[in-house]
Point group: C2
Chain length 387, copies 2
Amino acid sequence: MSDAAVRPRRRGARERVLDAIRAAEPLSRVELATITGLTEAAVSMTVRRLLDEGIVVESGLAPTAGKPRRLLRLDPAARIAVGVYLDEDTTTYVLTGQTGGVLSRLARPAPDPADPETLSRQVLADVELLFTGAGVERERCLGVGVVWPGPPGGTAQDLGTRLSAATGWPVLVENDATAAAVGEYWVARVGPEQGFAALYMGSGIGAGIVLEGRAMRGGRGNAGEFGHVCVQVDGPQCQCGSRGCLEALAGPRTVVAAALADPVAAAEAGLDPGEPRRSVVADFAAVARAARAGAPRCRALLEDSARYVAAAAESVLNLLDIDLVVLTGPGFAAASFVYGPAIMRRVAVADRLTWQRSVTVTVSLAAATASATGAAALVLQSHLSSR
Amino acid sequence: MSDAAVRPRRRGARERVLDAIRAAEPLSRVELATITGLTEAAVSMTVRRLLDEGIVVESGLAPTAGKPRRLLRLDPAARIAVGVYLDEDTTTYVLTGQTGGVLSRLARPAPDPADPETLSRQVLADVELLFTGAGVERERCLGVGVVWPGPPGGTAQDLGTRLSAATGWPVLVENDATAAAVGEYWVARVGPEQGFAALYMGSGIGAGIVLEGRAMRGGRGNAGEFGHVCVQVDGPQCQCGSRGCLEALAGPRTVVAAALADPVAAAEAGLDPGEPRRSVVADFAAVARAARAGAPRCRALLEDSARYVAAAAESVLNLLDIDLVVLTGPGFAAASFVYGPAIMRRVAVADRLTWQRSVTVTVSLAAATASATGAAALVLQSHLSSR
DNA sequence: ACGAGAAACTTCAGTTGCTTAAGAATGTTA
DNA sequence: TAACATTCTTAAGCAACTGAAGTTTCTCGT
């Protein structure tokens, strides 16, 4: 744990300035002063330090009636981060620059997660490969973000500890939805005052919630269990032990199971119930592709799922008073054309009638790989506050 | 990993010290240092300032092996706040000390809220009466909290502006649930690291959510709309324009309507469907009283409502990773004996099986008047951070 | 082409709020 | 009564930020 263990500071000038530039680059110093609420003097000093460190660069002038503004941007190459996404069947690695842009990517079949020793050895080797492949100096790397579909702790936490010990880099472990939310916040340039919920569909459904520029993690790091929002009091039994959870009624696993049980839908999607199953993600994507191509039964399955998802989304929006929903993850990447409109439809009436808000539903730009880039963004985000 | 580095320290010494004393008084300076993470020197200086201002007093010693600890408490009388609760049919005023204890109380029939001029005149006169009745100097008052069952803005905000102009005090306007949550945080000595949801039943259902010692308000001050969490996808139409909202299925208005529609239940509760209705709160309390006395039909109505409330509560707990629920407001004051166990039952299985948490459900000490004392607590809370 | 004006940025001398280090106060115990 | 344990205070220093007063670098009008 090298310089991640730096002492924290109350959300200071550095953090505020970097966050403002991230969200709305390019910016001049005067603009930064008004945005951050700092004095121009403070901004000037802070920016000089950032320039010295090479984190920020001046690029271009903006003419005014007087002295032109000198525009500041993040230098994409100045600092980089590694994101690792341990999916069911694939492990994805990305190397991103400071602005969240992907410099290099690597996908590998997933090693057996049951054996932590081999797992960490494999990940280490792959990360090594990622660096040599991209031809980037390891010194500029800020750390590694590790994401897997599940709560942080256990296997992932263990891997994190091993990686950190072996590489000397700080390693952050997070669940897929939260990572995707942070990634969205980072690369989609969401402002700190804009709260949003990133709904993530992979092999399950989760939500990453970002309020006031900070991801909600909850007491045990389990916040955002969107899949276990109850949408039907006496609904079917869920794996979690409760009843009527969104995931049990409308999660990707349920949709795939329904498609397999319906010969017509299975045929539409090209799924053979007899064959051994591929991953939930792949099967769900097949259903979504079929629906998009016009297959009615697959479409109906998705629409049915979307009704539930929309209801749960509405609950979240009402509970937290949020007006932005981002659909992300491989599931929504494939099926947002159904889920997006469904959420909009569900929310529209009460929005106008009661809440006087207008909810926006967007699809993440790189929804399919949001977890991996989000993992890297976690590292970038955590470095805003330190040093 | 670098979890320690991410922890923000935005709150200043004064706020942290006061908050620690509030949550766990009496405390010595050394204890404060360890709790707040400040150095002993910093605590010493901060405490001296607070002693000078009379906000904190030394009271008693705690023997040690060396020099005894000098215990610090908030001086209850040093600063006071006024809470105003504009209910449907009654306006309640309380005067509280710094520790949240009620110094004086006043209840009045509600004036017509449609006429802001008369309303504010009435409230002003009543507040005046409150002070003279309690024999307290107006100078020590920090401000007025105004609460009503609805979103801040409109009538309430207007009243706030008028009050503030007339009295010179800061006036804070908040919805009932959030105020009750802040009141609970303040009076029940909840620690800042303990997140919780205060479920509030009055004429409707809402939730006040407190995380990291701060009440969630959301983008438009509408956060905590627990009553519009969806618990049934195609449930009945709700006033808000959506379907299947908790409030439409299980809110106090719905319970009362069901009791009136069922001759047996109505008789049990002593409600005459022919008579003009009193307030929802009063009618609901009548149903709850009957149920408590053993009336089976009223009991069944409440149990049915509680099933839905429990499901919605579970959604909130899972979404925010919270393990404390406080039931408050007149509705739960009367009927927590049904709702509390229902929530516990619903949550227990998944808690053990999946989340490894153990949720606590408590009933607010002064649930019936939580809004008014909460209104006053809002003022106290807001004065923690300011100088 | 050149001075006036405008706006962006910088410098500098506080102020604040904390830290570290040392010391004073105030009890217990041998 | 001296030694000790512990709490609290004081003093010096540091880093971040503010306010006010420059300095720079452009445009514009003449």
